[in-house]
């Protein structure tokens, strides 16, 4: 069996300040000061197959954006390894292969350099990396603009002349210019108006078909994730708590947190005043609860959940969940 396109093994990322001089000295003398660190990503396993869309869902601060930043090299992982086509990403030196992983950003207002024309934004990287000769740049840019549903005459304009949806298309064209295999999409439609969201979602689906792309699609919007994804992984405070094929997850959610998320999703068909609410706040990632991170909010929490971290276990074919309830209660 060939390795998956992308695989994360026990990947962690801590953010924090190293100890100051005084505390380091004190530690030398026998004190036990711990550096304050946030486990933004805490030992996660993930994989994305060829031409597959993996939806990564979670609330703000759960570490889902950090996952994308680790994969595209904006931050190195603190622990664990990321494999691209079976090869450790950190050991790949071929820039062309590294460029096969591209990112689509959330904020279309900030993700394009306001001082460059569309042709410069899209065409800069391929020319710098020697993919295109400088003289063929404008023609190639026009082709890409058409491919993402824009007018070829837009090449000479500046980002501020476009609407949010159009800017997001330009961002997609910039990524496509490097002929990527995998797109990391970090909340790519969250900043768009509802009426333009659908246009961009449709573009993503169409490009996946045409170019055999794979996506890591990060979103808090369960409706869009359900629409686009082949598999879905749910994150809570730095850990994956459940992952499954999309229909399996939405129809047979196993983890209490996933169930709470699905119940909280705003829906058109909801009757007046019907809000299923999971109790409690999301804990601070600086001081996460021991054991299962979700136990303070979980209606089914048991003594075991407060001390022991539940591991991901298969509850149905391809369906993993990290919950002690699946062991039949207290062990």
């Amino acid at each position: 069996m060939s390795p998956p396109l992308l695989e994360l093994r026990r990947v962690s990322r801590r953010f924090g300040q190293p100890l100051g001089l005084l505390k380091t000295l004190a530690n030398r003398l026998g004190a036990h000061h711990q550096p304050r660190a946030v486990h933004a990503v805490d030992g996660i396993d993930l994989h994305v197959g060829d031409n597959e869309v993996l939806g990564l869902v979670g609330e703000s601060g759960c570490g889902k954006s950090t996952v994308a930043r680790l994969i595209c090299g904006l931050n190195p992982p603190s622990d664990g390894e990321i494999f691209y086509q079976g090869e450790a990403l950190a050991s790949i030196t071929d820039v062309d292969r590294l460029l096969q992983i591209q990112m689509i950003f959330q904020n279309p207002m900030a993700s394009l350099n306001p001082r460059l024309t569309v042709a410069d934004i899209i065409g800069e990287a391929p020319v710098v990396h020697g993919r295109w000769a400088a003289r063929e740049r404008d023609g190639r840019v026009r082709e890409l603009l058409l491919q993402v549903g824009m007018d070829a005459s837009h090449a000479d304009r500046y980002p501020h002349e476009f609407s949010g949806g159009q800017r997001q298309r330009i961002g997609i064209a910039r990524a496509l210019a490097l002929q990527p295999r995998l797109l990391l999409c970090d909340e790519p439609v969250a900043a768009l108006d509802v009426s333009t969201q659908a246009q961009v979602v449709n573009l993503f689906m169409q490009l996946k078909q045409q170019l055999q792309l794979s996506y890591l699609f990060i979103s808090h919007d369960l409706g869009i994730v359900r629409h686009l994804s082949d598999r879905v992984a749910i994150m809570y405070l730095g850990r994956i708590v459940e992952s499954a094929p999309v229909e399996e997850l939405f129809e047979h959610a196993n983890h209490p947190y996933t169930q709470a998320l699905l119940a909280s999703m705003p829906q058109i068909g909801r009757g007046a005043g019907q809000f299923a609410a999971v109790q409690g706040e999301i804990p601070s990632p600086l001081d996460p609860p021991r054991g299962c991170h979700f136990h303070p909010r979980c209606p089914f929490a048991m003594p075991r959940c407060r001390v022991e971290v539940p591991l991901l276990r298969e509850v149905a074919p391809g369906h993993l969940s990290a919950c002690h309830l699946n062991d039949g209660g207290d062990a």
Binding site: E59, S60, C72, G73, L74, V95, L98, L99, Q102, M103, N107, A110, S111, N113, P114, R115, L116, E124, A125, V128, S163, G164, Q166, G171, R174, D193, V194, S195, T196, Q197, A198, Q199, V201, N202, Q206, H220, L222, G223, I224, R226, H227, E247, L261, A263, S264, P266, I268, G269, R270, A272, G273, Q274, F275, A276, A277, V278, G280, E281, I282, S284
Partner: protein, 634 residues
């Protein structure tokens, strides 16, 4: 071109620019313009020493500004002195600018230890007074043009480095820089092609001021006799030369070079000041704001029949923003009503005017915005006609507002209990103990656990969801009759949003408070609102009971919004999309604003349809469309 016009908006700056230009040209052409070469000893005639302005020398030369001790023509000396001053100021400024900016950008981009190290060097440098550093350096290096330029570069670079770093730090976090990094464009390219151009505006402003500073610093040093050598006098040295004769009445030797120095530095500062205004949009006023003429109010439209008399009735409200790019019609003849205990969902996309509507009702429209027409009747009283004191009594008391960002309500430096007690006591006489008890009740009502402890917290100690709950509790403190909630759950996570929606719904029903819930998300108001009004480009295009609007929308735009949302069965199929984007808000158009995107648009749509029910049977459900989507009954 528009930049030039922007600059010319300030007459003082234009005068400054002209003076600066004239002085620079005079300095540049000194060898041709000056009647005499003041450094050529052969042409000097010592008999002409200390002649007053306007006198003739022994050889018949005309000394317009007089002569100094060495019989040099003061005018010529000033022109040559200007040249040295401008040269020193410009070259040291440019070199310091380039050096400091490069260091600052590099530090900001690399971060970590490199940043730390470089910035400590900058701190060290800036902790010594500039004049002291320059004095010491010149004492070591000696006199001369190159040496004073070097000293001034050393004095100035750190300021550029610090400013460049601060500007770059805010840019480095932006996604376009991250994008450049994921495209692996290389450090030099990211720094100079992507980062630098976006950091330049504030730096150029500093540069103009710094050139002025460098010129005055050089003048000071030369005045003290350690700057330029006597053979190449700059303006500072010229002033020093005449200083001893000031008391004996030979003022011109010092005063005219002094005037030249003041003009040069003053004009530079005027130009720099206007550049600062240009690059900071917040300092710019509106260009076409009309005078504060009284409102031309239209007669009230008869109230739409509602079961209970409305708490709020808005008639033909229009709010416009007078920007430099033209008049933005944010709210355009909008009418709505809310009854006691009723929740109205005001739905629209960005730029639809939904937030401006909420703020207009509260009369919280700041310049360049203005409510130009309409009535806002709160319990029958026109809010737009009230004086500021009566309005203050209404705000936060009878009408409360909840913002998307709770920090719009909360004061970051005050404890929660102080803020809540203050809100109560601002509108009624009440003991602190009683007010505190009420605050506690309110916190409990909005679902805050351990409210006694939360009362003692500062806002920053609470999570985003908690802050929003506190803001809602504050809004509810004085039992308002109307709450305007502007996207209060948009920034929150879905599980928290669900909690707050549930609490808001039961509170409104229990207390009889009327609510206008402003949102971009139809699905949020689906379970919350009794009625929905859909906004497009400042006008309500459809309004009616929630179930009717969501189940059988009449306007193609509402239909489009509903269709573009994915459903459980839409997987694998393309979503139905509304083509195009909303027109820019400045576009003047008398027809239906949605028609460029509408599949049903016809020639009739070039006129504006009325907002009206389809038939008397469905009087509650109104639509503004010539081609409403009538359901085929089967």
């Amino acid at each position: 071109m528009s930049r030039l016009r922007q600059f010319a908006a300030s007459r003082v700056a234009v005068v400054g620019a002209i003076v600066l230009l004239a002085l620079s040209v005079a300095a540049l052409l000194a060898s041709w313009l000056a009647p005499q070469n003041p450094f050529d000893l052969a042409t000097l005639n010592l008999h002409d020493s200390r002649l007053p302005p306007g006198s003739r020398g022994v050889d018949g030369q005309w000394y317009a500004l007089g002569t100094d001790l060495l019989a040099r023509d003061v005018l010529s000396a000033i022109l040559y002195g200007l040249r040295i001053s401008v040269l020193v100021g410009l070259s040291s400024g440019v070199i310091a600018f380039a050096l400091g900016t490069a260091v600052g950008l590099f530090a900001a981009y690399k971060g970590g230890r490199i940043d730390n190290l470089l910035m400590r060097v900058v701190d060290l440098q800036l902790s010594f007074p500039a004049i002291l550093v320059a004095l010491i350096l010149l004492a070591v290096l000696g006199k001369g043009l190159d040496k004073i330029i070097l000293a001034l570069v050393v004095v100035q670079w750190a300021l550029f480095a610090r400013t460049a770093r601060a500007t770059a730090l805010s840019e480095v976090g932006k996604e376009y820089i991250e994008a450049a990094r994921t495209l692996r464009l290389g450090t030099a390219r990211v720094l100079f092609r992507h980062l630098l151009p976006n950091c330049l505006p504030p730096l150029t402003v500093i540069a103009t001021v710094q050139v002025a500073n460098a010129i005055s610093l050089e003048a000071t040093l030369s005045f003290l006799g350690i700057g330029m050598p006597v053979t190449e006098p700059s303006l500072g040295l010229l002033i020093a030369n005449g200083f001893q004769f000031l008391l004996s009445g030979d003022y011109w030797i010092s005063v005219y070079p002094g005037v030249a120095l003041v003009l040069l530095i003053g004009s530079l500062n005027l130009v720099g000041d206007q550049l600062r205004v240009m690059f900071n949009p917040r300092l710019q006023g509106a260009s076409v704001m009309p005078d504060d003429t009284p409102l031309q109010l239209t007669d009230p439209v008869p109230a739409v029949t509602a079961h209970a008399p409305p708490v709020l009735q808005v008639n033909q409200l229009s709010t416009q923003f007078f920007t430099a790019r033209g008049v933005v019609h944010s709210v355009n003849g909008l009418s709505l009503h809310v009854a006691r205990g009723e929740i109205l969902g005001l739905v629209g996309e960005s730029g639809s005017g939904k937030s401006v509507t909420g703020r207009s009702i509260m009369r919280m429209i700041a310049a360049p915005g203005r409510i130009v027409d309409g009535r806002v009747l709160f319990n029958g009283v026109d809010v737009l006609g009230l004086d500021e004191e009566a309005m203050r009594q209404l705000r936060g008391n009878r009408i409360a507002m909840v913002f998307q960002d709770p920090m719009m309500t909360l004061n970051p430096v005050l404890r929660i209990d102080h803020q809540m007690i203050e809100t109560i006591q601002a509108h009624r006489t009440c003991s602190a103990a009683k007010a505190r008890a009420r605050a506690l009740t309110m916190l409990r009502k909005v679902g805050i656990p351990a409210p006694e402890e939360r009362l003692l917290c500062y806002p920053h100690q609470l999570s985003g969801g908690m802050r929003q709950r506190v803001a809602i509790a504050i809004a509810l403190l004085n039992e308002p009759e109307l709450i305007i909630a502007d996207e209060p759950t948009t920034a929150l996570d879905v599980t928290i949003q669900s909690q707050i929606l549930a609490e808001f719904h039961s509170l409104a029903k229990a207390t009889g408070t009327a609510v206008i819930w402003v949102t971009h998300d139809l699905s949020v108001v689906a379970g919350l609102a009794d009625r929905i009004a859909v906004l497009y480009r400042g006008r309500i295009v459809e309004a009616g009971p929630t179930a009717a609007v969501l189940r059988a929308p009449l306007h193609p735009y509402t239909r489009g919004l509903l269709d573009s949302m994915p459903t459980r069965n839409s997987r694998g199929q393309p979503l139905r999309q509304i083509p195009g984007a909303a027109p820019p808000p400045t576009a003047a158009d008398n027809g239906c604003a949605f028609r460029p995107r509408c599949a049903f648009a016809s020639a009739a749509c070039a006129a504006m349809p009325e907002l009206a029910p389809l038939s008397a049977l469905t009087a509650e459900h109104a639509v503004r469309c010539f081609h409403p989507l009538v359901q085929v009954s089967s």
